[in-house]
Amino acid sequence: MHAWLSALSFLLVSTLIGVGILAASRAIRVRAKVDSPLKQNTYECGEEPAQVAWMQFHARYYVVALFFVLFDIEAVFLFPWATVLRELGAGAFAAAVTFVLVLMLGWLYALRKEALQWQ
């Protein structure tokens, strides 16, 4: 609890630094005397932007995130295991090896189906 409070105040200090820099800049930055509407255009190499940028992306991005979540969950299960590995002995080791190997079957399947090419 104590440590979490420290972390919280550390994060608050970090936020203050960010906000402070923005505030400092607000005080000293230049302001345009004449405002040009062109200045607020979205940059697209000097051309008028063709469409709005919010567009559709390819599904492979989704798979990346899905893989990340799955492997992350795997790792999350391994963290408590890692801390008790010494005391629990070979049984815990075998359990985790099975756990990881089953997951790596999924990885092998992905490799076989060339789902890891990303293009």
Binding site: S6, S14, S25, Y43, F67
Partner: protein
Amino acid sequence: MNGLVHGAVYGGVIASVLLTTIAFGIWFERKFAGRMQSRLGPTIVGPFGLLQSVADVVKLLQKEDIVPRDADRPLFDLAPVLAALFSLGVAAVVPFSPTIIASDLDVGVLYILAVGGLMVIPTFMAGWASNNKFALIGGMRAIAQSVSYGVPLVLAVLVPVILSGTLSVSGIVTYQANHHWFLTWPVFIGVPAFAIYYMAMLAESNRIPFDIPEAESELVAGVTTEYTGAKFTLFYMAEYVHTLVGSAVGAALFLGGWDGPFAPGLHWMVLKTLVLFTVVYWVRWSLLRLRSDQLMVLCWKWLTPIGVLLVLGAAAWVQFVPGGFQ
């Protein structure tokens, strides 16, 4: 209450020291790159150009704040602050000496991974809020790369956790001080794990050869294309903070942190961090950039299975090698 004050005081000190280090780190990088490219680097502002970064910050803060008409204004303004927050926030659990640590969390390693992983949110937010195609592609690349390399990062970090049996960063450093640095022993696990950590760290902080989210030859400036002045400064700073804190975490997890002979712990920690920080720039100014799909292939086809093997290897080491117990 006590914790709040402790965190605030240490946070203030650590964050200011980090930011100062970065100001001179940028100067150092520019000198370093200059020497690599047979030129001088900054020489004008201050002796040896030492105050160049200060001048740059003042210049950047004075710049006009331009927000694109079509931008999603609240998110556009929020993203740089969040970037500064999440990059600096990781430093909270890094022990710079046996006593200098802002928050000695019992799940420090998890905290590092969690808060460091949050960096994707401001990056994507900036890319999306700019309503700029280059920024959006950069944002999508950033988030895809960051989540991909999150996996080898987690696996590499698991290795010291397994070897020391604790999730606390200071606990891991203490274990290394009492036994051996994980980089040196077991060397066939420690070195590759450290290598994977280092590559994932480069990828998470968008450094060449993994800097595709801001690949300026393709995406102009990636997510920061539309940013000017102070907001750009925050992103720029966050990137350096991320690298520096990543180096510090690497030093703590694999290189024994503050452990070392002859000198106080702080000296050793600073030295190790700065060495890792310098190597980032050595790599950065030597290599070309990978393509996004090659990056992903590297991550998923090679680093992830190797990481899994290392985790199992470390577990087997702890389990079956008599010296592994202790």
